[in-house]
């Protein structure tokens, strides 16, 4: 039997020593509750299962030249990241309940927390959450716990995938969710100020926003603080190699998706949520937190701390129902950040911006392709308007081996012809040129077709 060590002889011996028969082992399950023979396939061995999965993998088109982003990016991953994180001592361990056997995980998580603080300009961080969307939900709940208010303002430039998640999570709760609309790319001060009132506990923004546009939210932070609300900023960590961190803008809570820090895209997960805040709020922060201490011999040690916030102690009064974190993903992220280092992260961010800027000028030179917004300050993504529905053009370009971008009509009304194009350091000048030629060809082809 696969992965079972006991031999038939040993099983007989063990049963004998326990004074049980094989049937006795399940005697406490009443016969009428036992399953009849289950309709499951015959087991495969390692070679067979590898062959089957390799065939399935071939049915995916993962190797398109991709300009897809929207919060999830195809960055380069140094070989040392998976090599170190896949070590069995890390990967096959569990929650560090016994600190003497988990100093590796514990110290790495403390280092992850430190790296998140240094990136975001905040004072405290936890040891990670499931993903960027649940991190935003937890950040919102944390802000409402701190302010004891129930109104949330969320800007339309925040990732729409996260906005629909927040809508789902709050449906059964008495939370008043207000979303802005119809801005001009950057967060509309007029609209957001209009929505913030004395019941607002949290204002949720994103930088760079879903359209790729960069902003400085210090004025919104001030406005919110004057009215007793907290500012939550969701952030793309690679951009922080170059851009002003939310901590410097007066953000109270910073959250985000850490997939870009050395994790593969992997069709949507496992990913890495992070959350950081101000020291004065640390007891309201959800999830696992690792702290430094000393042992009985005064040696530096690391342990899980502030556990009275958590579900295994507080049960239904806990700050969150979260029981674990995304430890292995956080480990990958801290290894990635250590390899990139101070200069490497800044250079990678710069390279992403360079490619995007070049692609923007190259693509907007195509007749009929126009920038959607006036704002021209963007990091590695931008929105273009095509002369026809973007979804159709993108569909045609797939045949050319391109995932040209994301059609915004899926989430934004009035943006039928708009495409979100994302660049990372992996895209080359040649690939950008190929995209430009293919796009020009696709548009010409359809115009020629239309005039026939």
């Amino acid at each position: 039997m696969p992965f079972i060590a006991n031999t038939d002889e040993q099983r007989r011996e063990m049963l004998e020593q326990t004074g049980l028969s094989a049937e006795d082992l399940f005697a406490d399950i009443p016969p009428e509750l036992r399953a009849e023979s289950l309709d499951l396939p015959i087991g495969m061995n390692e070679q067979q299962v590898s062959g089957h999965l390799e065939k399935l993998a071939e049915k995916n088109h993962a190797r398109l030249v991709s300009f897809l982003g929207g919060g999830f990016y195809d960055h380069f991953i140094p070989a040392a990241v998976p090599a170190l994180a896949s070590r069995g001592e890390f990967a096959t361990a569990y929650t560090p309940y016994q600190p003497e056997l988990a100093q590796g995980t514990l110290q790495a998580m403390y280092e992850f927390q430190s790296a998140v603080c240094r990136l975001t300009g905040m004072e405290v961080s936890n040891a990670s959450l499931y993903d960027g969307g649940t991190a935003m939900y937890e950040a919102m709940m944390m802000a409402l716990r701190i302010t004891r208010r129930n109104r949330v303002v969320i800007d339309e430039t925040v990732n729409p995938i996260y906005r629909v998640m927040i809508e789902s999570y709050t449906r059964n709760l008495s939370i008043d969710l207000e979303q802005t609309c119809c801005g001009e790319g950057q967060v509309s001060r007029e609209r957001i100020f209009e929505l913030i009132d004395e019941n607002t506990g949290a204002v949720i923004l994103q930088n760079p926003n879903f359209f790729g546009i960069i902003d400085d939210f210090h004025d919104i932070a001030e406005y919110a603080h004057e009215r007793g609300a907290l500012l939550i900023v969701s952030v793309y960590p690679i951009s922080l190699g170059l851009h002003k961190p939310p901590g410097e803008m007066g953000a109270d809570i910073v959250c985000g998706e850490g997939q870009s820090l050395g994790l593969p895209l992997s069709f949507g997960g496992p990913y890495l949520g992070f959350i950081a805040g101000r020291k004065k709020h640390v007891r309201k922060m959800p999830g696992r937190i690792i702290g430094e201490t000393v042992d009985t011999d005064q040696r530096r040690s690391f342990v899980m701390t502030l556990q009275p916030r958590e579900q295994h102690i507080r049960r239904d009064k806990a700050t969150s129902n979260i029981c674990s974190n995304e430890s292995l993903c956080a480990l990958q992220a801290v290894i990635y950040l250590s390899l990139m280092g101070k200069q490497g992260l800044a250079e990678t961010a710069e390279l992403c911006a360079d490619k995007a800027s070049y692609a923007y000028s190259r693509l907007t030179s195509i007749p009929g392709v126009e920038p959607h917004f006036h704002a021209k300050w963007f990091f590695n993504e931008f929105v273009l308007d095509l002369p026809e529905p973007a979804a159709e053009v993108i569909g045609r370009l797939i045949e050319k081996g391109l995932a040209a971008g994301f059609p915004l009509s899926r989430y934004y009304r009035g943006m039928e012809n708009s495409i979100l194009i994302s660049l990372t350091e992996k895209r080359t000048k040649e690939e950008i040129g190929y995209l430009a030629e293919a796009l020009e060809g696709a548009l010409e082809g359809s115009q020629a077709g239309g005039s026939r």
Binding site: A27, G88, S168, T293, G341
Partner: protein
């Protein structure tokens, strides 16, 4: 494990040397960005460490030597099912055509056709889990067990909303894992704790008094955290159904009965499974996990968006138009990489493999229980399933020996300790789950260590209270950690 003479742990930031680097700069082939606004840039790069690649490799390799996983040794952590994680699943999850797949691809026109292989993994895993649980359909979206619980309670709430029921309470046994009451509370319900009877099972008489029109449902783990199967589980489900409540099965302990009994046949309406437990995906030091949720036919409309469905032409697609759905609980299709690993494991085991899992998990637990029961205090002296709970004997307690001392002494003998101080309904509890992938020899060695510890408890208790001696640190001061809070090096 390194000895006590080791140098004090140094943070990676403390090893930084100005100007050193691990990666070499890629020259830009496109010139510099003209779309960056200097006002928005940071003054200096973030203070990340400056190290060579070898520095980083040595740092994390050294950290790994101060960690203990299933690959290192026996890890009988109760209710966590620390079974062996097959290496082949890692290789398959790293295949570029899975690992490199962008989750937005299916949202492009005809994009589902670009990801048929990945959708097939999700679809087939759903079918296999249905068969193992008796549910009518699964969502793979929950990102962990506790996330599955929250999803399940949200489905429960959506059902009652749809029926026009005004329900306010969820019943949870006092032996339940803390996530159960926390999940119910976060979904907006009041939690009512149901006591256990003298046999360690949910007290049915108490339950009868607690069930009323306000009851939205019950959350039950079976076998429970004491390793005991409740033969009256169907009565409990029937009772809940009598007030139009929902019976929720927490699959944390599914390993005990997998392939032999199905929660659907007990009368449960919602099931969550922990792929990182029963289905052998690595625990990762505490995540990433995966907690698929299955439901009976009547609850299918409430499952989260999106759902993989098979079309008439045999191709697979993602269904988004689900008006009664609870909505989006994860950005895409769950922790796909974890579902993929579990799918590989499901295929490798097959029907006979799962029968072997539950048989050996239960046999190993009862074998170890029998070996220890005369020396340690056994919470419930009867047949257990995959795990059991013991405590220090009276004689040990008289010498001042607590569960924590036994745990630390086990560390010196090369074992990961059991879960201690949970479940809380047993004093000084040690919850032991030996899992099916461990051999008789390992169990014998562990039993011998436990018996030696019991002897030392009476003869030389100071040896135990001074443990562990073999690790780089000993009993870190948790009070100091909380009081002088240092959670980041800035």
């Amino acid at each position: 494990m390194s000895g006590g003479g080791m140098n004090e742990a140094k943070l990676i930031f403390e090893k930084s040397v100005e100007g050193r680097r691990a990666t070499q700069k890629t020259p830009s082939d496109v010139g510099h960005s003209v779309n960056l606004n200097p006002d928005y840039l940071r003054e200096a790069p973030p203070e990340l460490p400056e190290l060579s690649e070898l520095d980083v490799v040595r740092h994390f390799t050294e950290l790994s030597t101060r960690n203990f996983g299933v690959d290192t040794g026996f890890y009988p952590l109760g209710s966590c099912t620390m079974k062996y994680n097959p290496k082949v699943t890692e290789r398959i999850a790293a295949l570029p055509d899975f690992a490199g797949l962008h989750p937005l691809l299916p949202q492009l026109r005809l994009g589902g056709m670009l990801t048929q292989g990945a959708l097939e993994v999700i679809w087939r895993t759903d079918l296999l889990l249905r068969e193992l649980t008796g549910m009518a359909g699964f969502t793979m979206q929950p990102l962990a067990g506790a996330h599955g619980e929250l999803t399940g309670i949200m489905i429960m709430a959506a059902y009652h909303r749809d029926r026009g029921n005004s329900k306010t309470t969820v019943l949870v046994p006092d032996s339940a894992h803390g996530t159960n009451p926390a999940s119910a509370a976060i979904a907006g319900y009041d939690v009512v704790s149901v006591p256990s009877d003298e046999n360690g099972l949910m007290d049915l008489d108490a339950l009868r008094e607690q069930v009323d029109d306000r009851t939205a449902g019950v959350m039950l783990t079976s076998p429970n955290t004491l390793g005991l199967f409740n033969p009256r589980v169907k009565e409990i489900c029937d009772l809940i159904h009598s007030v139009d409540g929902i019976a929720y099965y927490d699959g944390a302990n599914m390993n005990a009965i997998v392939g032999r009994a199905r929660p659907g046949d007990f009368g449960f309406d919602i099931v969550h499974l922990n792929l990182h437990k029963t289905f052998a995906t690595p625990h990762g030091g505490g995540g990433p996990g995966s907690g698929p949720v299955g439901v009976v036919e009547g609850l299918l409309p409430f499952l989260p968006v999106s759902l993989v469905v098979k079309r008439e032409d045999g191709t697979l697609a993602l269904e988004y138009d689900r008006p009664k759905s609870i909505g989006y609980i994860a950005p895409f299709y769950g922790n796909f990489g974890i579902v993929l690993r579990a799918y590989v494991y499901l295929l490798m085991l097959g029907r006979d493999g799962f029968l072997g899992v539950s048989e050996n998990a239960v046999l190993n637990a009862n074998y170890l229980r029998t070996k220890l029961k005369d020396v340690y205090r056994q919470a419930y002296d009867r047949l257990c399933k995959h795990e059991f709970v013991i405590s220090p004997s009276k004689a040990m307690e008289e010498k001042g020996i607590r569960a924590v001392d036994i745990a630390k002494a086990l560390i010196d003998r090369g074992f990961h300790p059991p879960t201690v101080y949970f479940p809380t309904i047993v004093r000084e509890s040690m919850m032991i789950e030996p899992v099916e992938t461990e051999s008789k020899e390992t169990l014998d060695d562990f039993a011998e260590a436990m018996l030696e510890i019991a002897r030392l408890a009476k003869e030389q208790p100071e040896v135990l209270t001074g443990a562990p001696r073999s690790t780089s640190v000993r009993r870190p001061d948790e009070t100091k950690a909380a009081k002088e809070l240092n959670i980041a090096s800035l």
